[in-house]
Amino acid sequence: MLHSAIMPDCHPDTELVIAFRQGDKNAFSGFIEKYQKRVYHLARGITANHHIAEEVSQETFIRFWKSLRADRFDQAQEVYPYLRIICINLCRDYFSAQKRKMEHINEMDIVAKSDCPSQSGQDAPQVMQAIESLSGEQREILTLRVVEGLSYEEISRHINCPVGTVMSRLFRARMELKAKLGTVKI
């Protein structure tokens, strides 16, 4: 409240950032509580894997913490877009590192699903399998558009490619998803 009075135009997250820098130990918990679901779902959309999504989302917060501590985060910035960039890059790093082992991981993932907490409103397993069978690039662009609701321009900045490429990739991803879901009873 104090900070709002001082900086009435500042972003709501700015108060938390300032509090963190002033030593408020609850401030970082505030970020986690506020964004844990969004970051997790972003990672889940891109990876299509609960366990990797948890890993990526938590690493996202650790890196954010590190940025705050190192004063690399501009408090005028919005926090979530910053977290989104970290999360997307971590997903990409993960896929790059695991590229040669993807088949093995997918096999393990099928086994690991039994460890996944049950989800309310969970879709038929075939739906998740259809999503998993898309490429990482296709899931990424679908997630950014459909889940995150970003414009083509915003997506182009995130994935560093022209808007026209975003449009064509998104179209191909949708066609692929259509083909994969074609036989699934929804």
């Binding site: 130990k25 938590q58 501590r69 083509y152 449009m167 879901l181």
Partner: protein, 233 residues
């Protein structure tokens, strides 16, 4: 089929990424073209399926313990995926904290009087039972006061613990929570164990003193090896 619109444009139409003029043209077209209308409908439906699958809600327990698991991860040796520069950045920070605390507050130094610190206070210590305090201060043990700790500080606490471990200043870190309550001082000390004193506002100075004596009696700190110790008593 000779539709005037590229299917990519239909996808863009769904995303509101076409001009108003083009939007009008597309809508006029799909009203009379089953193929394009069906394609837009299936895109829209599949988007909803994708969104629902990705956003499917996890159980409340999952989110309630999310932060706890995040803190817990920091206490385990990181795997290849987690092995980042994170800890390498923390070690100097922790070393700086330790340096300041060691030389400005001393090891196990309580206020000269029996009054408790103004704020909540946590003391973390680890030492060899027979190690003189002077030696402990230099290299083999650390003791850190962290102000304003509470149960919501798991993340910070775990980061600090991990940083201490990585710094090489501490051989083992083990947490023992000591609850200060009248006639009920829970103590679980042993050789080479860590001590975590959770002294809160309102805790009796007498209880705190009794607790400190128990720590000494357990051999965690040698008596008469440090002047500060006598001051402290």
């Amino acid at each position: 089929m000779n539709c005037p619109f590229d299917n990519e444009r239909l996808s863009a139409y769904l995303d509101n990424e076409v001009t108003e003029t083009e939007r009008g043209q597309i809508e006029a077209h799909i009203n009379g073209c089953n193929h394009c209308r069906e394609l837009v409908r299936s895109f829209r439906q599949n988007d909803a399926v994708f969104h629902k699958a990705v956003q499917s809600e996890m159980p409340a327990d999952y989110w309630n313990s999310y932060q706890m698991r995040l803190a817990g991860k920091l206490t385990h040796k990181p795997g290849a995926f987690r092995r980042t520069l994170f800890w390498s950045a923390l070690v100097p920070i922790a070393a700086g904290i330790l340096f300041v605390l060691t030389f400005y507050r001393g090891l196990f130094v309580a206020p000269p009087s029996t009054t408790l610190p103004a704020s909540d206070d946590v003391v973390f210590a680890e030492a060899r039972p027979t190690t003189p305090l002077s030696l402990m201060a230099s290299s083999e043990a650390v003791l850190v006061n962290i102000a304003n700790m509470d149960e919501n500080d798991l993340f910070e606490t775990e980061i600090l613990k991990r940083a201490l471990a990585e710094s090489g200043l501490v051989e083992k870190i083990r947490l023992t929570k000591l609850t200060l309550k009248n006639k009920d001082i829970q103590i679980h000390l042993g050789k080479l164990e860590a001590v975590f004193i959770w002294a809160q506002n309102g805790d009796s100075p007498i209880e705190l003193q009794a607790l400190k004596e128990v720590i000494i009696n357990n051999g965690l700190i040698e008596e008469n090896k440090n002047k500060r110790h006598s001051e402290w008593r």
